[in-house]
Symmetry: none
């Protein structure tokens, strides 16, 4: 099945937002073996939208639209699609009920233009919106399928996963099965060198994706529905694990370091607390992001000033005076004090210079110390990260979590 994604929104054409909806949908369609031939973005203009829809339907079996389902007058995707197929717009009782309940829940009055959102093309399959107010729909006509999704990414993703993806899986008879191995602590070109021969196997295919401080290897094979991919995928996965060892930290598309560390802590019945300076809450937030964090996490200290480091964590006056707040000694004492305060099994600390200002020749932007305390004591490592403020803070958080991960492996 060949598919196109047609995104609607003048804000996309003016560059206010990137078209992350098209990226997300493409990734998911690819995962079930549906080929995406084209992405198109048009503005909030009925004529140009209709023209784009028409030519897309000439080329492809299916068109997925995103955006243009809001309550305002320039939101006209549903109207244009309905007109294209000569379908009337009819009020959908379920959507209207959901919309009214939603507005009531958030304490907002229902205005006249809200009602427009409960209209759907006659005979289409309704996709309820569990995050916002605008329902989506699927129209099947003349051997073509058009799926209409909302533009806000949180609404789009929820509707895609709960309605459109199950629908598509049933339609497509085959599926691309992929395994994702997450790798931390080895650079992209080193991984490429170490796995070089595995990139040329033909089937399964191996691909490498890298982001700040980590990489993901994807092993994929196209299977008929019901076919067991294990005999093809297992040998390659095992070989990668054999070559890269502990650097492979998790398997699965949505796995990441915070989730992996949370699982390990739960499995070992251990707790952790954090002390953050330059990351300012990012490390803590990466764990609290996860449902079930309360089992392993009770508290964190964000000590941005020297005074707060001293007062809350007991960092010594002499350490701050002679070594400075960005030092191995300070990170060590921060971790030690945090564990002592919280009574947790482990404590992690981060102190560094995230930039763009504050760097010196001796302590440049990117210099970060990460400390770990456990019942045996406290120690800290020095890191030198590159990139902008966000890159440096992100790398700091990931390396802190990895330090705890390696410690937990040794204790398991």
């Amino acid at each position: 099945m060949v598919c196109e994604i047609l995104s609607v929104g003048t804000e996309l054409l003016m560059g206010q937002v990137a078209n992350t909806d098209a990226q997300y949908i493409s990734q998911r369609l690819t995962s079930v073996g549906i080929t995406v031939y084209r992405h198109t973005v048009v503005g909030d203009n009925a004529g140009r939208l209709d023209e784009a829809l028409e030519t897309a339907l000439l080329r492809s079996d299916m068109v997925i639209t995103t955006g243009g389902l809001g309550p305002t007058e320039d939101d006209l995707t549903k109207e244009t699609v309905a007109q294209h197929f000569s379908l009337k717009l009819v009020e959908d009782a379920g959507s209207l009920e959901n919309l009214m309940a939603f507005q009531k829940r958030i304490g907002r009055p229902i205005t006249q233009n809200n009602f427009k959102q409960a209209l759907i093309p006659e005979g289409s399959i309704v996709m309820p919106n569990r995050v916002g107010t605008a329902p989506g729909c699927i129209i099947e006509k003349d051997n073509k399928t058009v799926a209409v999704l909302p533009g806000p990414p949180s609404e789009m993703k929820d509707m895609f996963e709960n309605c459109l993806f199950p629908y598509l899986q049933k339609k497509s008879g085959q599926t691309l099965v992929s395994r994702y191995l997450h790798i931390f602590g080895i650079g992209e070109s080193t991984i490429e060198t170490q796995l070089q021969d595995l990139f040329h196997l033909g089937s399964p295919t191996l691909a490498l994706y890298c982001s700040t401080a980590e990489c993901t290897a994807r092993i994929s094979v196209m299977c008929a529905l019901g076919e067991d991919p294990a005999p093809i995928l297992d040998p390659v996965e095992n070989e990668i694990r054999r070559r890269l060892g502990n650097a492979v930290y998790a398997e699965g598309l949505y796995e990441d370091l915070p989730g992996t560390v949370l699982k390990m802590l739960k499995a070992q019945g251990k707790t952790v607390s954090f002390a953050e300076s330059c990351t300012g809450g990012m490390l803590s937030s990466s764990i609290v992001d996860l449902s079930g964090a309360s089992e392993v996490f009770s508290e964190s200290y964000i000590t941005y000033s020297n005074d707060a480091k001293r007062r809350l964590l007991g960092v010594r006056e002499e350490t701050l005076l002679f070594s400075g707040a960005v030092s191995r000694a300070c990170a060590q004492e921060m971790a030690y004090g945090t564990r002592k305060n919280s009574g947790s099994d482990y404590a992690l600390s981060i102190t560094g210079i995230a930039g763009p200002d504050g760097g010196t020749a001796e302590k440049p932007v990117g210099l970060v110390y990460i400390g770990l305390a456990d019942r045996e004591g406290a120690y800290a490592h020095e890191f030198r990260f590159h990139g902008n403020r966000t890159n440096i803070r992100t790398a700091s958080v990931k390396h802190a979590l990895n330090l705890l991960r390696l410690t937990l492996i040794n204790k398991a």
Copy 2:
């Protein structure tokens, strides 16, 4: 002048990366009054690329391509564009020199397929690549213009700013001037209703963009170079401010709530500290994200467990027992204790149920209390947010910052 952006790359269609090139170029074109009618993404396929180029040139005066300039066989943008205009590819001496110097600098040998990158369509304007190896070019023929840019964002941006943008500014005699007003605390449809007549002025145009818990209004007018847009924009801006009052919190494309609150605190010489439960560091991080945060911020307490709330912030045992950790009283005591510990002028606290688990009939997912303490005491507000865990946490952070903003307005 009407323009389209045509991006080439199978990695875009597979969703491996978002099309940030198109976003960047659109933003810059819009700023000089060039209208972008369409974004198109096609894969590394000469036939589909040529078809897309042909139809784009029928509709628009100019097509900007990104991607497909690499050294490998499936990089064929330049080849396809040259063929479309029946132009020969010729070796560009400057590009070849640059390419050889680049490979030498990074210590890579020059391979046969590198030479392909130094070819450009005969008679075109060469745009040198100062970041990578592939040059870009501008072709003017039959009253149409095609500009060919590389795909990697760092190469594309450098070439765009140094070559293509100056070229376009000269071509276009006019510019679109926009003002952005950021609005918090009023829903999209209410704003739409309150400003209804202003959406139909013709010139200037008014558009509304909404994300989690907030909206941005854009007022735009097309001006000749050097023309003063104020007489057209001022009356509409003033009218919006008159109708929406304090809900308009900032002006400017890149402004946001954390930045606005940081500026207000700096201007008033005040400091703030935070206590976070369900947001787990997001509030603190939103301020530490900003360079210069240390002037107004020393510390935060992330008290996820009841015990931490009691021990670190002095929340009373009875409060936790009778009202619970998610209660107005708890938020109030968290804010009070934080301010007392830190000695800051203001303290904000957040405690709530971000879900997906932990909700009850009495205290559903989305129930959040936000507290504020100042020298006069502490109080807390109840909120009921909707959406997933991330939406609820994001809305909590924004509403906490807004509470402080409104307090600072009253104190100014």
